[in-house]
């Protein structure tokens, strides 16, 4: 309700201001026929911005400070001796009861008289403060409106002023991307730091046992948080995925860009790229119900003990998922190799495959390596396929036919969303996330650097 009123107020102010600036500007140009610097809509926007900013500042101030003021008001309504008798938790509970009373929903249990009076007082206090804020915002807006309107003259550079504001707004938008990075780094580092106050970093990074205890009541018994089993699992699955994706993706890119008729290419390329658009959870399900059982049956046929959920299952399906990623990146890179190089080899009498293997691929190698690194980074950070199909067995071993756990799986397992952020059980997710972030960041920076160097070489 309140937010609707405020939104409505702002809209009305906005419309009023724009209209007033616009008509004033029209008046200028029609009255004495002088040359007005800016068009009426700029004057309208100019006044609107002038009006909106003070009103917004007042509302923002209330949003920022209002909670504290209300809190203090409630405390002042509770008898002093009661406040002194209560500890922090009890006080908060009382305040919550009073707030609830004020909204009119009522509370459980017997209502103490002072609670009732405090609730009533709070209700009127809230109403009055809300009115004050609304009126103050409106008054500030209107004062600013009148001031801005007064400034409108033929020579006012309203357009430039409005454009400056647009510029600032655009800058603010591009700051969001930076803020996101800052937010990621800050939250990962600070929560991981908390984790490292429980578990020594050496025990985390070089520990070989992953066995977090879930009884967070157990005081010192936090369990063991060794990263290595997860890291090995992650690397094993990534390796298998790359063993599937690189040959298939690269050969597919070569065939499509060098051999295929353009009509075949026009059909096959988008179909392969469908794989890139399918949600990973779908691949996970596919791995779990189809690929896993198939591999298990195949294993028992040839006398291998392959578990249905294993590093192999997850790796193969992840490899399938990455095929279009590898193939479209390689395709791009191959197409960037200048035609003259290919002609040079053909002119010597090289066959097509000789040209590709001896000239095209070596020339494209840096770019292709960059593409592979990007694919590796994607595989390392992939979550859902592994959650569903890798079997979640955080044991340090090298057998790809056995279940494994990865960094991402453990993040999902440890941070279920409803956990508090107090114990190492959930905080470890951030230490894992930090590890993952650093690994993928290094891969990406390095890969993008290589690819960029490669592009510059042939530009």
């Amino acid at each position: 309700m309140n937010s609707l009123v405020i939104a409505g107020l702002l809209l009305v102010l906005l419309g009023l201001a724009y209209q007033s600036g616009w008509s004033r500007s029209r008046g200028l140009s029609t009255a004495n026929g002088v040359k007005v610097h800016s068009r009426p809509q700029y004057h309208g926007s100019y006044v609107a911005i002038w009006t909106l900013v003070p009103a917004l500042i007042i509302i923002a101030l209330w949003a920022w400070l209002g909670d504290g003021i209300t809190h203090n008001f409630i405390v002042s309504q509770i008898p002093v001796e009661t406040v002194q008798s209560l500890d922090q938790v009890g006080l908060n509970a009382t305040i919550a009861r009073i707030r609830s009373l004020a909204t009119g929903y009522g509370v459980a249990g017997e209502i103490l008289p002072y609670e009732q009076t405090a609730g009533d007082a709070l209700r009127s206090f809230q109403f009055i403060t809300f009115l004050i804020v609304v009126v103050a915002a409106a008054v500030a807006g209107i004062v600013a409106l009148l001031y801005a309107r007064g400034r409108i003259t033929a020579r006012l550079r309203a357009r430039n002023a409005v454009e400056r504001v647009i510029n600032i707004a655009l800058l603010a938008c591009s700051a969001v991307a930076i803020l996101t990075t800052v937010g990621i780094v800050a939250s990962l580092v600070s929560e991981a730091y908390k984790f490292f106050t429980f578990i020594h970093p050496l025990d985390f990074f070089f520990g070989t046992v992953w066995n977090p205890s879930f009884s967070s009541t157990g005081g010192a018994a936090h369990g063991q948080y060794g990263l290595l089993p997860l890291l090995v699992g992650t690397l094993m699955i990534t390796l298998i995925a790359m063993l599937v994706a690189v040959p298939v993706g690269l050969m597919a890119a070569i065939y499509l860009s060098q051999y295929a008729h353009h009509s075949f290419r026009a059909v096959a390329k988008p179909i392969i790229e469908i794989l890139a658009g399918i949600p990973t959870i779908v691949f996970g399900f596919f791995a779990l119900v189809t690929v896993g059982p198939f591999l298990r049956d195949f294993g028992s046929l040839v006398g291998l003990d392959i578990k249905a959920t294993s590093a192999l299952t997850a790796g193969i399906v992840m490899g399938i998922m990455i095929i279009p990623f590898v193939s479209s990146l390689s395709d791009d890179i191959l197409n960037q190799v200048p035609r003259t190089l290919r002609d040079g080899a053909y002119g010597l009498g090289a066959t097509k495959s000789e040209t590709i293997r001896n000239v095209l691929l070596p020339a494209a190698l840096p770019g292709i390596v960059g593409a592979f690194l990007l694919a590796v980074s994607r595989a390392v950070g992939e979550t859902m396929i592994v959650v569903l199909a890798a079997g979640n067995s955080p044991v340090l071993r090298g057998n790809p036919f056995e279940p494994v756990a990865t960094i991402t799986v453990s993040i999902v397992n440890q941070l279920t969303g409803d956990s508090d952020f107090a114990g190492p059980q959930s905080l470890v997710a951030f230490a894992l996330g930090l590890t993952l972030f650093v690994i993928t960041l290094c891969l990406n920076v390095f890969a993008l650097y290589i690819v960029r160097r490669f592009r510059e070489q042939y530009e």
Binding site: S174, I184, V248, G381, L415, G417
Partner: protein, 454 residues
């Protein structure tokens, strides 16, 4: 001179012989290489086909549900209940409401299963030995709610018999469809032998029929009554998140792309922002989930499991994609257009907003839809902000608890009743893929339409 010539000719003949000798092998390896390329393509296409065929083959059966046609008798002997309260003259609103609620509570206390059991027994062939538990295992557990709600809506049904269509239980469906191996012994079957016989009987005599499973689209998730579990809640949750992504990510993304491409002075800082955005685009999605958990939930105390948090996380995740695509589109605008606009005396801002943006609109729109479609299928970050909680309600606002389509898929694939939920998960995947295909189709259509117009 002649000497040189003849040695030259001799050398040339020698060379030709050498070259010819190697040709067969070289062409063989050429063909092998080409064959490998073709094989890779076929393999990749095969994977696509296999994936789709597998999902569709598994999912299609779940789009039919087994309906149980029963004659329900609201037997006063079982349903010992007073008539519903009638509003007395002078009775206050609140009093009447209280009386009505009490009546409904009393109704809920009645053993409605007895009613179901009686009608099932009536439908069963005479002489079949079957106990109450086995009988009730045929109908889905929500049957008693359905029957009760009908009575609440129409209390005059007491003493009457009506035809009702109920859902057969998930285990019954497993048995009918053969989801469970029918040759397994009693110990491994979910249903008792007598129930299985009766189900077969019901199928034969038309008491159980198949129909399109509207429940998938009209119901919310359910654990106690799996056969009635639907996607509606998850679908609405996804819609809320998409709405937030569109409202936030699109303007912010396009605005920052415009700033970086058109206004920002080329400096170290913009270089840094560019590198930063490129890297952000490659950050694993689960890291965004961690950001959401730490920043939005733990620090800002936004509600857990809510579409608003999911939407914000997906917004941050989609932003780099939209920024990169928009910058690419802006970069593609010919300098001639810019110079023409500037030459007419337009300011830089006017040039961008009046001339450059309209031209790039189709590409920006397409990129946006594709970015949103990608966000739609994202699962991992949502798990971290608590969206994997079981929610059996349609979220009315973005602040309510909700799941999303991909998370629903995750939840269903983990359900213990594998035999029943595997097809249903595949069906949910089909719905998700269909939504994504539609979004992509819209993107392609809009692009071709708008490009033709431009």
């Amino acid at each position: 001179m002649t000497d040189m010539l003849s040695t030259g000719q001799q050398a040339s003949i020698d060379r030709t012989r050498l070259i010819r000798a190697g040709l067969r092998k070289r062409h063989l390896s050429e063909n092998i290489f080409k064959g490998l390329g073709l094989a890779a393509i076929i393999l990749a296409l095969g994977f696509v086909a296999l994936l789709f065929v597998d999902i569709v083959r598994k999912g299609v059966p779940a789009f039919t549900q087994s309906n149980l046609h029963l004659a329900i008798t609201y037997d006063p002997a079982i349903l010992k209940i007073d008539p519903p309260p009638v509003r007395a003259a002078g009775q206050s609103d609140a009093d009447f409401q209280a009386a009505n609620l009490k009546w409904q509570r009393d109704l809920a206390m009645l053993n409605w299963n007895k009613v179901i059991e009686a009608s099932l027994r009536a439908a069963a062939p005479a002489g079949l030995e079957i106990d109450a538990k086995a009988l009730l295992s045929i109908a889905e557990t929500d049957a008693r709610h359905v029957v009760r709600e009908m009575f609440v809506a129409n209390p005059s049904l007491l003493g009457q018999t009506v035809e009702v269509e109920l859902l057969a239980s998930a285990n019954a469906v497993n048995w009918i469809r053969g989801n469970i191996d029918r040759s397994l012994g009693d110990a491994q079957q979910q249903l008792s032998a007598s129930a299985r016989t009766l189900i077969d009987e019901f199928v034969a005599n038309g008491t159980i029929t198949n129909g399109f499973a509207w429940s998938i689209f009209t119901n919310v998730d359910s654990r106690s009554a799996p056969a009635s579990a639907g996607l509606l809640g998850a679908f609405v949750g996804t819609l809320w998140m998409m709405l937030i992504v569109i409202v936030l990510a699109v303007p912010i993304g396009v605005a920052s792309a415009i700033y970086l491409e058109e206004f920002a002075p080329k400096s170290r800082i913009t270089d840094f922002i560019e590198v930063n955005i490129n890297n952000l685009a490659a950050v694993p999605s689960i890291v965004f989930g961690l950001l959401g958990a730490a920043a939005f939930i733990n620090y800002m105390h936004l509600p857990i499991s809510a579409p608003i948090v999911g939407g914000l996380v997906l917004t941050l995740m989609t932003l780099p994609t939209i920024i990169i695509a928009t910058r690419g589109a802006l970069l593609g605008v010919s300098p001639a257009l810019r110079q023409a606009a500037l030459g007419m005396g337009a300011s830089k801002t006017q040039m961008v907003f009046h001339h450059v943006l309209p031209v790039t609109f189709p590409s920006i729109l397409t990129a946006t839809i594709l970015g949103v479609a990608h966000a739609l299928g994202e699962t991992a970050p949502l798990l971290l902000i608590g969206m994997k909680a079981f929610v059996a309600a349609v979220p009315a606002t973005p602040l309510d608890q909700a799941t999303a389509l991909p998370v629903q898929i995750y939840l269903w694939q983990g359900n213990e009743n594998r035999n029943f939920f595997e097809p249903r998960t595949a069906a949910a995947i089909m719905v998700l893929l269909l939504v994504m295909i539609c979004l992509n189709g819209v993107a392609i259509y809009l692009r071709s339409r708008l490009e033709k117009r431009a």
